[in-house]
Every structure is written in structure tokens, then in C-alpha cells.
């Protein structure tokens, strides 16, 4: 083994560096909601509950479920085609494809490469992000940095979930909350700042607050022993702990995102929190001291909690229904299993 002093770098090569756009922005947002509407009454055929209880605890009236043979990639493709059409960006222009999901049922390969190929963007760098309900905001942050760092000119960010496949239909604490869907955004260059600094982080001490109940290793072993219960791969959740963290832990994060962007709550044209639970949304508004006239995303009532897909779906609805103005400033914040979170102020496309 040569010692440190006998080996020196050649020092002959000089690396070139990329430079990207000075600023980034969201060029368009699109979405896909599966056809099948699940009412609270239908949920109550699996759990002992009532329409009234579910509305009071969560604000959810209906949620959408994908068809049994409809995959995460199928839904992602529909949302991606929608956003490509809206943005006028051609698939060949995509410099990267990021898919945020925790319900793509393959450990490997990721969903993103096949999505890129289906879209006609074969060859683009493509990977999945595992950041649960914070996944879309993580994706926007990465995409913004990629555009500004020069690793891609246009980035497709998709948040997609088929939570119906990972929900224990007989668990009263989760069966009524989750839904399926896909939302997508195109991030590309901008001539002015249009995606504010991201405030993000994690808390592994609360790793088990929302989680797949057992690891795949355990499930595979149980299969071998023929003792598989069938519920191990579903999601379990400590509902009250989530509520406390999502409100009193996340309000300061949302405030920091405003501070870092250099604006105040009064400058906002919309507040688009992860559609976790209407009660969380209502308390967040209170804790943030949000003026009553600022439009707040409440897509959860019709769509349920779609994890990574919830923010882009809610954004798409607000823009389509004229609730929030194009070009306006929106505060978005995602938070969920990990625990992980991310918040940023964005200019609405």
C-alpha cells in the first residue's frame, strides 16, 4: 500500500461545470382523478362508522379509487400528458422525470423510467422519490435546483398514489382517509424568482407514526411460513400524534417558508397544504393567523388524502375553478410518513 506521501494526483485535467437558468418556475400543473367515486356510505360497509363521523373528523365526503388493474404508472401517465399539453412542452424537451410515490408496488425498478418511455421521453434521467405526503414539495425543490444548477432545462414532477392498494379496509383509523390519484407539474427556467426557498426536514424519531406495518422481509418470511395475515403491507397510523405534529410542528415550517421567500401571509393568493385532513387544514390556518380572505385548498372533501398527489391535484382544482389566480403566490406544504416535510412559496402557473 502506497503511503499518502508517495501518491499525488496528476493535476492535468480541469473539469467544466454546468450553469443553469438563474431562476425556475412551475410552467403548468395537471392532474388525473380515477373514475370510481367511493362515498362515505360505502366505506361504512367495511368499518363501523358513519357519514357524519367521517365528515366531522376529516371533512371527507368522497374519495376516488383507481380500478383494480389501473397502476401508479397508468395514473402518472394521464397526469403527465395533461400537464405536457397545458405547458406546451414536448416530451423530448424533458431533461428529467421525477415520480413521488410510496405506493408503486415494485421495490425495483422505479416507476419513473417506464413513465418517461411511455411519454416519449425515453432516455431522460428518471427516478422515484420516497417522501410520502411531502413528496411533491420535495420534487419541486429538487426540480427547481436541477433547473438552476444546469442538470436539466425542463423537469416533470409527478406525485401519484394508489393508496387503496395499501389501505386496510377494516382499520377504522385509516380506511376512510386515503384515496388514489395523480398530479403533475413541469418546472423550467424563469426570468424572475418564482419558486421560493424550500424549508424542509425530517424526524426519524417519529419514524413509526405513519408506516407500512411490516417490512417486506417480514412479509416474505410470513409467506414462507404460510402465516401471512394479508394486512402487513397496509399503512398504520397514530392519528392523534399525526394531528399534533401536522399542526403545531408544521405551522412554524410554513411560516419559515414565507420568511425565506421574503413575503408575509398577507401577500398570499392561495394556501395549498397537503390534503391530510380538513381538521388539520383548519387548525393550520388558525395557527398561521391566516387572513380569512385567502383562498385555501379544500380538495380533500371530494378527493380524500392522496398523499404525494394531493397538492398538485388541489392546485389544479383551484386554478380550474378560478379560486386562485394564475401568476399569484401560493404557499404549499407537504408533510407525512418519515416523518418528512417540505414547504415553499411558488408562483402559480
Amino acid at each position: 500500500m502506497p503511503s499518502d506521501s508517495t501518491i499525488a494526483p496528476k493535476g492535468t485535467g480541469r473539469l467544466s461545470a454546468t450553469t443553469g437558468a438563474q431562476y425556475a418556475r412551475i410552467h403548468a400543473v395537471g392532474g388525473y382523478r380515477p373514475e370510481r367515486v367511493i362515498t362515505n356510505d360505502e366505506v361504512c360497509t367495511w368499518i363501523d362508522s358513519s357519514d357524519q363521523w367521517i365528515r366531522e373528523r376529516s371533512g371527507i365526503e368522497t374519495r376516488r379509487w383507481a380500478a383494480p388493474d389501473e397502476t401508479v404508472i397508468d395514473m402518472a401517465e394521464k397526469a403527465a400528458r395533461d400537464v405536457l399539453t397545458r405547458s406546451g412542452i414536448r416530451p423530448a424537451q424533458l431533461g428529467a422525470v421525477l415520480v413521488s410515490t410510496v405506493t408503486h408496488p415494485y421495490q425495483t425498478p422505479a416507476a419513473a423510467p417506464l413513465l418517461a418511455t411511455r411519454l416519449g421521453a425515453n432516455g431522460a434521467p428518471a427516478f422515484d422519490i420516497s417522501a410520502a405526503c411531502a413528496g411533491y414539495c420535495y420534487g419541486i425543490s429538487l426540480a427547481s435546483d436541477m433547473v438552476r444548477g444546469g442538470s436539466a432545462e425542463y423537469v416533470l414532477v409527478v406525485g401519484v398514489e394508489k393508496l387503496s392498494a395499501f389501505t386496510d379496509k377494516h382499520d377504522r383509523g385509516t380506511a376512510f382517509i386515503f384515496g388514489d390519484g395523480a398530479g403533475a407539474a413541469i418546472v423550467g427556467p424563469s426570468d424572475h424568482p418564482a419558486i421560493g426557498p424550500t424549508v424542509w426536514g425530517s424526524d426519524g424519531e417519529a419514524w413509526d407514526t405513519i408506516r407500512q406495518r411490516e417490512s417486506w422481509t417480514h412479509i416474505l418470511n410470513a409467506w414462507e411460513d404460510r402465516q401471512q395475515s394479508g394486512q402487513d403491507s397496509t399503512i398504520g397510523m397514530k392519528g392523534q400524534s399525526v394531528f399534533r405534529w401536522a399542526v403545531w410542528g408544521m405551522a412554524p415550517v410554513a411560516q419559515q417558508a414565507l420568511d425565506k421567500a421574503g413575503i408575509t401571509v398577507d401577500d398570499l393568493d392561495a394556501f395549498i397544504p397537503h390534503q391530510a385532513n380538513m381538521r388539520i387544514i383548519d387548525q393550520l390556518i388558525k395557527q398561521l393567523g391566516m387572513p380569512a380572505d385567502i383562498p385555501v385548498a379544500r380538495d380533500i372533501a371530494q378527493t380524500g388524502n392522496t398523499s404525494a398527489a394531493s397538492i398538485p391535484l388541489a392546485t389544479e382544482r383551484m386554478l380550474r375553478e378560478g379560486e386562485a389566480p394564475h401568476g399569484g403566490l401560493a404557499l404549499q406544504i407537504g408533510f407525512g410518513a418519515g416523518l418528512v416535510y417540505a414547504a415553499q412559496v411558488i408562483e402559480l402557473p
Binding site: E56, R57, K238, G239, Q240, S241, F243, R244, V247, W248, R279, Q283
Partner: protein, 82 residues
Amino acid sequence: MAQSEQEILEGLAEIVNEETGVDAKDVQPEKSFTEDLDIDSLSMMTIVVNAEEKFGVRIPDDDVKNLSTVGDAVKYIQNAQG
């Protein structure tokens, strides 16, 4: 810094009233939060967080489910204040 049971009860009643609209007079030690005062688990969390701030104590999530009556909460807070 420990407060009397009565002071804690009054402070707690104020919080419960603000969060749920329940009359402060009805917040009595023997009352159950869920059964008598119709407070659900999420409102309970809100009350707990406000109580932490007001009384300068920590009430971990896992302890919240043991606070079934107003009296339980008053005792818990008093002990936590030491």
C-alpha cells in the same frame, strides 16, 4: 411555580371553552372529556397543546389517552408542574 387545583381547573376550563364553546362552568373534575363534554380526540389534542403552553408542562402523546376526565388532566398538570 406549582398552581393550586382550583387555578388549574379554571385555566383548563377557559381553554376548553375557547376551543369547543362548552360553558366554562360545565368543566368540572368529574366530567369526562368525550362522554360529557363531547370533545373528540383532535379537539382534545388542541386543548392539550394549549394547556402545555399555559401551564408550562409537557404532555406526551402517549399520556393524552389516559386523561379521560377533567380531574385526570388537572392532577396530571399539577404533578407535571412539580
